[in-house]
């Protein structure tokens, strides 16, 4: 198997692992990690498209590579925004959960939110 094919399979595997973790892990920060795994898997699959586009003097197609570079930066910006939201939620409520029932359940003996 050539390196691009191996990297493509790694990318596919990463998307699979990330998707599983995104659904199964209840903790928001772990969901964010999982989302970043999916992202890097997608970038890697795009990366082999770039590698296969090698023509002439170029060992790669520069267009997908440039898009992956901007993609990595945007993924970081989105992660930072998600972290800021989580920390603010924790600060306000003392907990971070995506479970909609958690906010309506009786808490410390008090009814309702």
């Amino acid at each position: 198997m050539s390196p691009p094919i191996i990297a493509g399979f790694v990318g596919a595997g990463l998307v699979g692992l990330g998707l599983y973790a995104l659904i199964v892990n209840p903790e928001p920060l772990k969901k964010l990690l999982a989302f970043n795994l999916i992202g890097s898997g997608v970038f890697l699959v795009f990366g082999i498209v770039a590698r296969r586009g090698a023509v002439g003097v170029f060992p790669f197609d520069p267009v997908p590579q440039a898009m992956v570079i901007t993609g990595i930066v945007v993924a970081f910006a989105a992660s930072a925004l998600a972290v800021a939201l989580m920390l603010r939620l924790a600060e306000e409520s003392g907990r971070v959960t995506l479970d909609p029932d958690a906010w309506t359940k009786p808490d410390d003996g008090a009814e309702g939110p």
Partner: protein, 313 residues
Amino acid sequence: MTLFDALDLALAAIVLGLAAWTIAAREVFSAVVGYVAYGLLLAIVWVRLYAPDVALMEAAIGSGVTGVLLVAASTRLGRLPKAEAPPGAALKIAAAALSLIVAGLLAAAVLYLPDPAPSLAPEADKDLAATGLGNAVTAVLIAYRSFDTMLEKVVLVLAVVGVWSVAPDRFWGGAPAPLGPAAPEAALVFLARILAPIGIVIGVQMFWVGADDPGGAFQGGAILAAMWIIVMMARLAEPPRIGSGWLRLALVSGPAVFLLVGLAGPLMAGSFFAFPAGFAKPLILFIEAFMVLSIALTLPLLVAGPPSREAGP
């Protein structure tokens, strides 16, 4: 099987193994540490795909700066009580089945990509001489698809505004919380003093050589950003007040200069975001210099988070 084949397979196994560790680790902190190691190894995979520019980006941002962000978040969120029970077996099986199908389809798509592969490399090569650049990736970013890159810089500024906006009203205009403890480890302070001057030189160098060799505004800016983050973690500098005029001006300077040059395109070269022949490279470096500045500011501000102290007099 040659040595490189064996290395490629081993690398693939370790990357997937670390990704599995990241999602299986019980403690969020362990998961984040796994993710940082994963990002560094992924950078080597990118090198094997002949993508040194992407590898630099993945190592600096995907692993380094994201790592700092997530480690800081995990130490603050890890103390909270676990809010909900793990999902039941049925959901796990359904999620595993769905993930297997998606991964399988992607793997199949990788195997059955069209051959010969469609490529824009000849197009990129054709006009490379006109841009005066030697690095085709930089040419795509700043010349061929410059509008895209300009909008991406706007997204970064919007992300900073988004992060700032979650602050309570009374802190608006104030400074984010310090990145490190009040009395940082002496070793960290020493590291910051030694590393920062070297890192600043490397960051500027990486931006400068990016015109012809792997590197560029994004990579150079990311390294400068990392240096500022280290200095702030060692408490040699504090996060700036977000109300500061120079800070806001520097933040928007990247996209603003890019947009102004783009708007001047119709006058200079006959179309929006066009560069005049023979004068493209100086203009590209001019745009990139401001991009480096604004990236080097944006990333640490995103790590520092919303303001948490009052603005003061």
